[in-house]
């Protein structure tokens, strides 16, 4: 019951945010230099007078601003994101076709980075002042400072070009006609490099945060209580320190969801992973702004879904929230 109410309130909030993004998109087009119709059509379409006329009519570009806004908003509300002139397909179809690949990539990277980050962070916290702890933190700092796209490129050079262990591009072997388990295995092989490179940066963040959070939790009074009971150090670390330290990590993971989607744009570009990030890069190159704004809207929606999930997880993990809500 509590969760149902919570989800409804979060969904309502999500709708408001998405609505604001639509309005934001609309004004972005207005603010851009040049004719909005030309912008919506994209550079390539701008020469086609007939298409421009259609666009002008459809969005009411010759009408006053508020009429245009209304048409734009009601259009998006009906899931009409317009037409990609360049690809001759509705924007929505393009995005929906690419969405599963992005979900697979970001989902894998999200879980991978969280699990590895928390493990590495708790190891580092338990080994403060020891060389092994310092090495973990140094590695985390380096991964944190490395540009994502560059790691991706270097991984291609090393693992695909030089060692030839893993495929460098795409999501599956084209033309192999694989099915069932063999296909899944093939996709898995293609997934390793992009998911790992995407996860590295976030893993670094979680490692640093877990360690800091655990060291802070270790200072708390209840840890002294646990020691006074005669509990083993490993039990105290896991049951008392780590559990309390995880709460801020969950919050952080929610905040990082947006970054993760951003990172996917870069990774997908490098590995030609057929997701919406790669689609965004293609839209950029073709100056297909209508498509670009559609993807932008969807990536925000994706982040909101991630946020709702982390919010629910947080509520499961912290009994005090139930009282407050």
């Amino acid at each position: 019951m509590l969760y149902a109410r919570l989800i409804v309130s979060r969904l309502l909030k999500a709708v408001i945010v998405l609505f604001m993004i639509i309005i934001f998109n609309f004004f972005l087009i207005q603010l851009a230099p040049g004719d909005p119709a030309a912008i919506l059509a994209g550079e390539a379409g701008a020469t086609d007078a007939e298409f421009l006329r259609q666009l002008t009519e459809r969005f009411g570009l010759d009408q006053p601003l508020h009429v245009q806004l209304w048409r734009y908003v009601s259009g998006v509300a009906m899931l009409d994101f317009g037409f990609s002139y360049r690809q001759q397909v509705p924007v929505l179809d393009l995005i929906l076709e690419r969405l599963p690949a992005t979900l697979l990539l970001t989902g894998t990277a999200f879980v991978l980075s969280l699990v590895l980050g928390i493990v590495a962070g708790s190891l580092a916290a338990a080994r403060v002042k020891k060389p092994s702890g310092s090495i973990i933190m140094a590695l985390a700092l380096i991964f944190y400072a490395t540009p994502l796209f560059w790691v991706a490129l270097m991984a291609v050079v090393l693992f695909s070009v030089y060692l030839d262990w893993l495929p460098a591009y795409g999501m599956y072997t084209v033309g192999a006609g694989l099915e069932g388990f063999a296909f899944a295995l093939d996709v898995g092989k293609h997934l390793i490099l992009p998911a790992t490179t995407l996860a590295l940066f976030f893993m670094a963040i979680y490692t640093r945060m877990t360690r800091a959070s655990m060291l802070e939790a270790a200072q708390q009074d209840f840890v002294k209580t646990a020691r006074a009971k005669g509990l083993k150090n490993s039990v105290i670390q896991r049951r008392h320190i780590l559990r309390n330290a995880l709460l801020p990590i969950i919050t952080l993971a929610g905040l990082q969801a947006g970054q993760m989607v951003g990172g996917a744009i870069l990774t997908e570009t490098v590995f030609a992973w057929p997701g919406i990030g790669r689609l965004m890069f293609e839209a950029l190159q073709q100056r297909d702004y209508n498509l670009l704004l559609g993807i932008f809207f969807f990536s925000a929606a994706l982040v909101i879904v991630f946020n709702i999930i982390t919010d629910l997880v947080y509520r499961l993990a912290d009994p005090r929230i139930k009282e407050a809500s």
Binding site: V17, P33, L141, A145, L153, M154, V157, L284
Partner: protein, 278 residues
């Protein structure tokens, strides 16, 4: 202990500072050592590193001097990092201060606004902004500032909220100091150290963002930047890995140095925390 002595106790911070000074020197010396435009084609393309005099890092796909590009790129990275952070602070500090100090409805409204910006995927927003405003130093700086102010606002708000009911602030209210005086003289000075630390990390993040934008082809077409160099060499990575490698190392070192310096500042400004952490 003096501020610098505390800073220097963190050996990583010292290393970071040295690297950073080196990169600043690169930026300053670039126009002296390579007075020509880094865009000029000066040699055969695809010269590997360390094989031709005057081209220690070789030439790129168009026969441009990689070393010259690297040094000129330092200037662009640092400039964009600093300016966009300054703009982000100029947005985030006042917003956070007002929200945290006044609380209530003002806080609610400002925080909803901040949350909105935090929900939108950062990098995607930057891409859309730069693409539609057309790539230029100004649009890149604006876009980076627009996506990086929310953490500042949240930090400043949290600091203000915890300090606004501190007894010395209440005492200042009771003796009749105005809200402006209290914000500027009583609270703000006590929030400076976390802001400074955050700012140093933000410069690092801004440099990463700029390089990622340039990598995607959204850099200012008039200036040479590290991200652009990697992006341009991406398609020839199989033939000439070094074209991507060196600019990447430059970014890595700069960002690493800034993070190390940030940690050092944190230790030096909050000596108590540093002792507990080590």
């Amino acid at each position: 202990m003096s501020f610098f002595a505390r800073f220097a106790q963190n050996r990583g911070a010292l290393v970071g500072l040295i690297i950073l000074v080196g990169i600043i020197l690169m930026a300053i010396l670039a126009p002296l050592l390579f007075p020509e435009s880094p865009w000029r084609m000066v040699q055969r393309p695809f010269l590997p590193p360390l094989q031709t005099d005057g081209f220690p890092l070789g030439t790129d796909t168009m026969g441009r001097n990689v070393a010259a590009g690297l040094m000129h790129g330092a200037w662009v990275s640092l400039l964009i990092g600093l300016v966009s952070t300054t703009v982000a602070l100029a947005i985030g500090v006042p917003l956070g201060a007002i929200a945290g100090y006044y609380g209530g409805l003002v806080d609610d409204a400002l925080m909803r606004f901040t949350e909105f910006f935090q929900t939108i995927p950062n990098f995607a927003l930057a891409i859309v902004l730069v693409a539609i405003m057309q790539p230029s130093i100004t649009s890149i700086v604006l876009a980076i500032a627009l996506v990086s102010w929310p953490p500042v606002a949240r930090l400043v708000r949290a600091e203000f909220m915890s300090l606004r009911h501190r007894e010395y602030v209440e005492a200042a209210r009771l003796v009749g100091q105005t809200n402006t005086t209290i914000i500027l003289r009583q609270i703000l000075p006590n929030t400076l150290s976390p802001i400074i630390v955050l700012a140093s990390l933000m410069v690092a993040t801004a440099i990463l963002l700029e390089s990622a934008l340039s990598f995607l082809g959204l850099g200012d077409p008039n200036v040479m930047s590290w991200g652009y160099m990697i992006g341009a060499a991406r398609t020839v990575i199989r033939q000439a890995w070094w074209l991507s490698f060196f600019p990447g190392v430059a970014i890595l070192l700069t960002v690493l140095a800034l993070n190390l310096v940030g940690e050092g500042l944190d230790d030096a400004l909050n000596p108590k925390l540093a002792r507990e952490r080590s």
